[in-house]
Subunit: 416 residues, 2 copies
């Protein structure tokens, strides 16, 4: 057994090559990637990931949801140590969100095999699917939900694509997956899941550090809200007699954002999507539909923030005589990292001489699903300008190598 | 010459039949009509209008913009007395907005001819096109602008449809109109233009009167505003570091609407249209584009209201570090009615024993274009619940007959 202070060698050229080559599948507006789950670009990316797993001497397995696994069998029996992330993107997203973690797991295991040989415990890299919900808005964490047994029979029939034209069932069948066979993707033999991801925020850059070890993942709730008023002519109807859902929406969006702003870090609230009917210049609208994304990593504060938002929406709608209704599309409680893994990852970073900080994740991740069946911890890599969910997202190869060294050292501590 | 106290007979059954039959061209969601300019439904409606003009013994003429005229030649030479309105609709609108005025002109002239014979001065009914700007957002009052010579050569090449797929030139050629021949639609032989229209507001209903004589038409400005911020992940980016154009839009829309509300009647401000990029739940948007429709019938107040709105938009954008820019799509100054015609119409209503009030119009109308070449006045008919620009708009046949009697008596005073 090697000592932990040994530096793990990560091939900077290889990771750069893999990032750039995978970004070609769904390449969009220069540095962007538009690669939704089960699209032709996504299929091509999974095939490429599988080939690279084979190159690394891993045994490839495509599961019944569409996740791709590369397995390095350990000398001893027992549950696996897994690392990976998702390879679907926003519409468009960048080259790093998710994809970097899928590649990092593969590169880390490849490096460990080269440097230290066959591990004691089985190591697996994984490329997950539809974390973003960018093709099917209610299907976030679809791949990791398949692994944790959180997809119920018939779910795929109910999930409708963003453009309303197809169900998840249609999309799966189109790429040769059988929606009735999703339960077979369930795993009950994973001990630990270590996910590397870009930070998607500006905090590491602010404090000038390459890497963070994540204490836990924020709670996330998504509301789909509908306000209904009365459609009228924009000229003939006096302000004092209107029931204007756009005015109600504007007051609500303004107040929700202000509320999160006043709470301060780490509370966040975003209104990202709005649709107006009929959406005409000279017509007081009949209906405004919008989303609210609200997050807090401390469960008790999370509950208070949501209650505050709901109270405000009801109050504004009642005062303005508007009908209001909402559906909660996502309600993901705050998810603390496993305390043991969290300590191991920090020790690994110290061993490798990689300077780091700890922070909570403001974004949701597959790890919070995997936490249902495994111990989890995450490693963040600095994002340029804190940008993500955009073609402009960027992390330097130097920071990425530092992050993968911490990942590999963590896996080494767990598997060798 | 008859005395003015003679009641003019209006055929209630005929006007009801005409309203219902014309509503079939573009029938939408039950009581609605979706009939944009130069569409197949619009072509069919113009043909029907022309047939009814012929039935009434009027000489039909289709001009080079697409307006349809029905002429009853007077015994004496000289400029015409004209009545009509537009037959294009919102997407969808109702059966009455515009259409009722086109039919009222025809029915009134038909009734005068039947009851009083050939007039001294020439009378004309007209069905105008694209008042709404519902197919080409920047082409409001297209038909009446053609008549007043306010369409410049090449304008039709620059006007792009709401869906961005075609120019006005394309649309005109598709129905056999030559955009290079628009100047031929210009008229310089119209003395007076009397337009009957539904009120499109709740004021007549509030005071329980069937008809209003319009003192003038509100000034209308339409802004097309773009706010640009920085697209970011909705979780990873702290509130205090965001440049969120949705938050800026919400504050602006909320404040503009509140400003008009505080000013009170007759000031109105409407945000009817908004488009967000990328419009995703978990993404702080990059760009929000929206419209502002602001109106006041007193020119000095109109200028102050616009200045106040512009100051507020600039202030919010600057404070939130957002780029802001706008185009003024429509800037139509307040348009008072001709004092002589305004008095004649009131006298006509008194003669016919039709109870009425006077009011300013909060909506824009073809009359404000026609005012460039003719004396104008308008007659309003009560709208149920003040509704317009919606399939639910409704006026009773009893109120409509009262309105057409006032219209016919006004035309009688001018032409016989």
């Amino acid at each position: 057994m090697v000592t932990m202070s040994q530096t793990i060698d990560i091939d900077a050229g290889l990771i750069e090559k893999y990032i750039m080559e995978l970004a070609k599948f769904g390449e969009h507006s220069g540095t962007g990637v538009w690669r939704t789950v089960y699209s032709p670009e996504w299929v091509a990316a999974t095939q490429q990931y599988a080939r690279w797993c084979e190159d690394a001497g891993l045994t490839v397995h495509h599961d019944t949801v569409g996740n791709v696994w590369g397995r390095l069998k350990g000398r001893e029996p027992g549950p696996s140590i897994v690392s990976g992330s998702h390879i679907d993107t926003q519409r468009p997203g960048g080259r790093y969100d998710g994809t970097l973690g899928a590649l990092a797991g593969l590169i880390a295991i490849r490096a460990l095999k080269t440097q230290f040989g066959i591990p004691r415990r089985t190591l697996e890299a994984v490329a997950l699917c539809e974390e973003e919900g960018s093709r099917f808005p209610s299907a976030g964490w679809w791949g990791s939900r398949g692994i944790t047994g959180r997809i119920a029979p018939g779910d795929s029939d109910k999930l409708v694509s963003l453009d309303g034209t197809e169900t998840m069932t249609d999309a799966m069948r189109a790429v040769g997956l059988d929606p009735d066979d999703v339960a077979a993707a369930r795993r009950n033999d994973i001990d630990s899941f270590v996910e590397l991801h870009i930070e998607q925020g500006p905090i590491l850059e602010q404090v000038d550090l390459p890497v963070a070890i994540v204490s836990g993942i924020t709670g996330i709730r998504h509301y789909d809200v509908e306000l209904i008023g009365q459609q009228n002519h924009a000229g003939g109807f006096p302000m004092d007699m209107r029931r204007d859902p756009m005015a109600g929406f504007a007051e609500i969006a303004n107040s929700l954002v202000d509320t999160a702003h006043r709470w301060g870090r780490p509370a966040v609230t975003t209104v990202g999507r709005v649709e107006v009917e009929p959406n005409s210049v000279a017509v007081v609208p009949k209906r405004v539909r919008f989303t609210v994304d609200a997050r807090h990593p401390v469960q008790e504060s999370y509950e208070r923030l949501m209650a505050s938002h709901e109270r405000l929406m009801r109050e504004v709608a009642a005062r303005r005589n508007l009908e209001i209704s909402w559906k909660v599309m996502i309600d993901q409680p705050a998810c603390p990292s496993d305390p043991g893994l969290y300590a191991v990852a920090q020790e690994a970073a110290r061993d490798q001489g990689v300077p780091f900080m700890t922070m909570a994740s403001g974004a949701g991740h597959d790890s919070q699903q995997m936490a249902a069946i495994a111990k989890v911890v995450m490693i963040f890599v600095r994002s340029k300008d804190g940008r993500s969910h955009t073609p402009e997202e960027f992390s330097s190869i130097k920071d990425i190598v530092a992050g993968i060294r911490v990942l590999a050292a963590t896996l080494h501590k767990l598997a060798y």
